[in-house]
Symmetry: C2
Subunit: 208 residues, 2 copies
Amino acid sequence: MKTRIIREAIQLFGERGFDGTSIQSIAETVDIRKPSLLYHFKSKEELRDEAIKYLISRWVNELPRLLTNAVSGYDRFSSIIMSLVSFFLKDANRARFALREMLDRPGEIGELVKLQLSPWNKMIVDYIELGQKGETIRKDLNPRAYIMQVMLMVLGSVAMGDAASVIFELDSEPSGARIDELVRIARESLFTQPDKVEQKKKKKAATD
Amino acid sequence: MKTRIIREAIQLFGERGFDGTSIQSIAETVDIRKPSLLYHFKSKEELRDEAIKYLISRWVNELPRLLTNAVSGYDRFSSIIMSLVSFFLKDANRARFALREMLDRPGEIGELVKLQLSPWNKMIVDYIELGQKGETIRKDLNPRAYIMQVMLMVLGSVAMGDAASVIFELDSEPSGARIDELVRIARESLFTQPDKVEQKKKKKAATD
DNA sequence: CCTACCGATCGGTAGG
DNA sequence: CCTACCGATCGGTAGG
């Protein structure tokens, strides 16, 4: 029951925001009375806390799978970004809830995410810095700031896809041009010369 | 008085969200009583509407100035992006309010922004497509989707700078590495070969 | 622009 | 997990 409440809370917090969602309305969707919900969570704030922790840990737990399953038809990098997107795309309210929490209480959420994400963050930073010592990744790139901007595009594209589609007259189908362009931007601004990397890949594939 | 209320409303809606802000609290910051505020705006929803319209028109009205003042020390493109950022950076709650509105009611806000932004949007799309016919801008770029992603980075960097700084361990000073990297990403993923463009510029400057 | 006031809903508790 | 209930606050109105 507890996790069912949390899952519904993420939906409603994501759609309408924390202050726009009454615990009454959450209780209704899981078909119990309000005081019963407050038996599982001492307060609305506690439910919020458990919900964001649940979302973060779900995401971090899927990261290894997202990174390893990432070699499909596309080249490896694009495939990683797309599986990252697809995690949030499976349920856009995850991205909306995450964004709203960052707006509502930047400090707390920042610390929370940092704690769970830091090993992965370090891994990617190291990978980028290694590529910068070689010739594959652009030297005038700030690894941490780069990762942050890509994450903003990922979360933003999913969470605000509806509004953005209207504004820029894009088709609102989620896996459409928006995501392709996001992948392209992330790729082109990361690697030194796409051609060189592509050639390397193809050469390697040919010799394999 | 009306515009003073609107300005304070943007602050508070941006900080705490629409549902997290009582009209009572807005009335207090402008030092009147609640019913007096409701004399200017029939309802809280009407205040919301006028506030977002005020913000959008303010932004659109500054666009010409942002685009023409844009030739400073930096190259033209970077300068345009940075003055775009600086409009929201002057007051981060503008960006927060805009983002929150897109989350709360994507359809209405989408239409509203589209209406006021479409001439500017068309201008930039035309500029990009022209560059694509030439050799300056990458041909595998979706103009509308590109503009959308850049706008997401601009708004996101400003609105969620605090949380993102904590997560990715970046200095929280606003005009720091985050914005530089955003400009770099937007630039590198737009132009075909930065070197070529740079050389052209320098050549032109030399012959001038 | 104010005082006085309203019904509805909010988060939360008592007690079982 | 429930019924019954609470004080506080919400958006909004009457009437001046």
